[in-house]
Symmetry: C2
Subunit: 245 residues, 2 copies
């Protein structure tokens, strides 16, 4: 079924098709499909665009990444499907290490994710997991010593809350991308980006130096995240075609 470009929810439906395609490829899990649905609902409430609070967090995130000694981007199946190419462009532009990490661990799926990134032009870590994030079950905590384990800053799009917390406990600077501003992952962010991952990485790649310079020092994460919740509440009220009660 082809979705016409004129459809009001074209982008969202197109993304759903891509997820299904990556499910067939064995990169996205069944559980990942349900997660995508949850994301769709929050993106709908956000207006399916990068709002001002998202752009502000993304600018601060980019400056922080450029200032870090060992920044690493963590990718899973949904992230590969939704923003693989955008991540390749971004990682190459700033020479940032990317490492595959998945919630429902399987060697086969790890290989598929790594191969997918190779096929679109980027070598990513993940097949040589020789370190363990403290405080997580064995499979959930696997990572590479040269990657996430020794990173000073981690960018974790669509990450599990437990892992976000564990990375923070390790003392890392944590940058999250998640559509739910109230999720545990969002709350563990030192910089919390509430935006769709493809849009987020497109923005990160397109910013010029003057866009992001000096943003880290003035960025107040808690205040910015609070704006998201206010925005969604106000937007729901404007979307409400039901008369005021």
């Amino acid at each position: 079924m082809e979705v016409p470009k004129s459809h009001p929810r074209y982008e969202s439906l197109k993304k759903r098709e891509i997820l299904l395609d990556f499910y067939e490829k064995g990169i996205v899990t069944i559980s990942g499909l349900i997660s995508q649905g949850r994301g769709e609902a929050f993106d709908y409430l956000l207006g399916e665009k990068s709002q001002d609070f998202a752009l502000e967090a993304e600018k601060a995130a980019l400056e922080k990444l450029t200032q870090s000694n060992r920044p690493v981007i963590s990718v899973n199946g949904n992230v590969a499907a939704l923003a693989g190419e955008e991540i390749v462009r971004f990682a190459k532009k700033y020479n940032i290490t990317v490492e595959a990490n998945i919630f429902y661990w399987s060697k086969e799926r790890m290989k598929k994710i790594v191969s997918y990134f190779e096929s679109i032009g980027l070598h990513v870590l993940g097949l040589n997991q020789d370190a363990q994030i403290p405080g997580l079950e064995s499979d959930r905590g696997k990572c590479e010593k040269d990657g996430i384990f020794t990173a000073d800053t981690v960018l974790i799009p669509l990450e599990d809350g437990d892992r976000a917390e564990a990375l923070k406990r390790m003392g890392k600077f944590v940058i999250t991308i998640d559509l739910n501003p109230l999720s545990r992952t969002s709350k563990f962010g030192d910089i919390t980006i509430v935006d769709e991952v493809q849009r987020a990485f497109t923005n990160l790649t397109n910013f010029k130096k003057e866009d992001y310079s000096g943003k880290v020092s003035s960025f107040k994460n808690e205040r910015n995240a609070a704006r998201v919740v206010t925005f969604i509440g106000e937007r729901m009220a404007t979307m409400n075609e039901w008369p005021e009660s």
Copy 2:
């Protein structure tokens, strides 16, 4: 993976497992899994319980169903998975016809849904589709003359917006169950229930006559639906652990 009962989101995670099981059985589609994710997000915002506005709409809906000459409940794959047994109990208690209707039509899946209901004790319509809802594409508009086609009142849980609209255009009294108060389906309801389907059918079955008597005449659907949106906005603000901006 067993979900411990103590988990704060036990009910939600349990439902996810059931959906996966019905996906394996060929009753729920891939697209239905993504829809479930969207539902999860809205139910999270609703506090994962039947709020007062839901109970009010459910009481009015029950009285309307008992007053109708030919009420019909429409069921699809997700509805069967989430609330099959509760629907059987409800339909038997009030002797209401149930008809299977699916968005991504396939004879095989129709058969599986009908068989599933037979296996849990209820004969449902759907395999003898001899009528067509006007204004819908061929597959999407199929239904039974003795069921939805000649119903005066239709109860349509988790229904597609186009079909909700087409049923309303046929002059039927439309009762919707949908977790998104702003969905097209919700807007086409004469009575709009914003609740999770399993909870909704449990409530419908448990109400006593004195609970619902006289509720139709005093029920104001638009005002009730507007309360839902206000509730979600206010609840998000209370859930917000981010400091006020």
